[in-house]
Assembly symmetry: C2
Homo-oligomer: 331 residues x 2
């Protein structure tokens, strides 16, 4: 459910209201949702999500709700009364408790995937945690060595895996290495395989204008990126590059590639947010569990106003199903 | 005309064939074109541009052609027979001679603006010149102190001015300064004024993810960019920022800003090429003359095949007219 003072509860209610699009009829429980959050907070969103199924608060996440109902598990962390648009430590504390519970259930195999609504970094801090955000919680709770921030939009044919992410741009440049880039290619290929795509053509972006233009405009391409690509090709991956960053994303959208490995946060986020703003999905690869997320923040400015859009969350659910092998493309 | 072995002659012929869209009927010579290049090479494109007006080779660029005809001036540099797709020094030599002639005519006030077709940097080098490209020729021939690489697309509502451009990304980061950013804002405001836009809202992009997120993800925003914005606001410019780079371009397209000042080449080129690929215009600000250009290269791979698109060149002509005060929006 994320931060109850953001748009999380609202988009969750609206996404559940579209259950016919993605919830199977009983007895097929293939994609039965388990909401981890507060049932009362969710119920309060019914005026903007009338088609939301009945909710059933459960103390045990393994408890199957009545047919047609959605189970809501609060992980012993009942929410405070929401104060939309306000950053509070109480909301931050619940968001973390719910996320941790979700990770535990996924690690135990009790849920097939985790889909997250936005939380507030500031709220987490006010709650006394030192986590930097979702990814940090996920990484620590699962013990993952390294995770990869990815942006996927199946409708727009955009799949982007970032070699570096939330750090100053100058640090991203310093952190590029052939090892790290090659690892990103391998993780990307595995993700494409899980999506059961017929082709797994991975384009690796350069980092400098015109991908360095034969060394005139930078040397990272020849020093680091090209060797990584060569190594991956030798390993059998369908991988090429480095490509000029200012055209590689369009080439992917036009069908030439299935995924682009981007070197730094904005290299991937600028094209992604331009094209897939309302329906983009954030994916974390490198975890032992499947995790997708909406590609936007708490949007405190519109929280509680009933105008938030659930498209990104619905796409995040669909993509999580595919990564989890529950319902492929068109199924 | 640019490099005769690239798509220049073809897109030029096709753009001239659409003259009814932009050439005034005589005696109005407001936007009478003067082609600087080779008449024979251009004439050879007639099979793919049947509506191209009659061409008239002139020895004196001031010579008015017959009514309805287009003057072609070769600046005493007749072209070699084109060998489409090949990089040759002869083609490079002509491209430079024509560009220099165009600059001289513009400096003398004999033409109102210069619009350029693509040339080959390698061709220029093979011809023995040390110029790095168009911009380098323009800067040296006009004695301009500093020029600004800009991407404009009026149909897509995208206007981007780059603080740094053709250099390694790490050098771009090092070259950012409050002085330089403030100067980019001033130049941008002047450009918007020349386009006679009712509003001149200039957004300044950050350089780090989330525009540094209050210093967590980088310090350029607080050290350099914010002070530059503050200075420009104090000078009376309608300027704000720094904004997160991954959403500022979309906000411009949606009407919130009239222009974005981008910090480095790909920050502006990634969104621009994604959205305005076929109709984008490259603009050089900071010169004492008006200069626009197509936003693509020689495209040797499709040269001579008759499939090149003239949309970018037509847009470049329209924008040059507006910068030169000859024909405003909708005129």
């Amino acid at each position: 459910m994320g931060d109850v003072n953001g748009v999380g509860p609202e988009i969750l209610a609206k996404a559940l209201a579209r259950h016919r699009e993605w919830m199977p009829a009983p007895p097929d429980t293939r994609t039965a949702p388990l909401v981890i959050g507060d049932a009362g907070v969710l119920e309060a969103q019914r005026p903007v999500a009338r088609a939301m199924p009945p909710l059933e608060a459960v103390d045990d996440p393994a408890h199957a709700p009545a047919p047609g109902a959605v189970a809501v598990y609060d992980a012993q962390a009942p929410a405070p009364a929401p104060t939309p648009g306000e950053v509070t430590g109480e909301a931050g504390r619940c968001a973390v408790a719910w996320l941790r519970a979700a990770v535990r259930l996924a690690l135990a195999g009790d849920v097939a995937a985790v889909v997250t609504c936005p939380l507030s970094k500031m709220g987490i801090r006010l709650a006394g945690y030192e986590y930097m955000g979702h990814t940090d919680v996920l990484q620590r709770e699962t013990g993952a060595d390294r995770v990869w921030m990815c942006c996927f939009s199946e409708p727009r044919r955009m799949r982007i895996v970032h070699v570096t992410a939330h750090c100053p741009l100058s640090m991203s440049l310093g952190a590029l290495s052939a090892d790290r880039i090659a690892e990103a290619v391998r993780v990307s290929a595995e993700a494409l395989a899980r999506l059961e795509l017929p082709r797994r053509r991975i384009a690796v972006a350069g980092v400098n204008p015109h991908a360095g233009e034969d060394g005139l405009l930078g040397s990272e391409e020849s020093d680091v990126i090209a060797p990584a690509v060569a190594r991956c090709v030798a390993e059998g991956y369908d991988c090429s590059g480095p490509y000029p960053p200012d055209t590689v994303f369009r080439r992917m959208m036009e069908g030439e590639f299935d995924l682009v490995v981007a070197m730094y946060h904005d290299q991937g986020h600028i094209p992604f947010k331009l094209v897939a703003m309302d329906e983009g999905v954030s994916v974390t690869l490198g975890l032992p569990i499947v995790r997708t997320s909406v590609d936007h923040g708490t949007a405190y400015d519109i929280a509680g106003k009933g105008v938030a859009r659930e498209a990104s969350l619905c796409e995040a659910v669909r993509l999580a199903e595919r990564f989890a092998g529950r319902g492929g493309e068109g199924s």
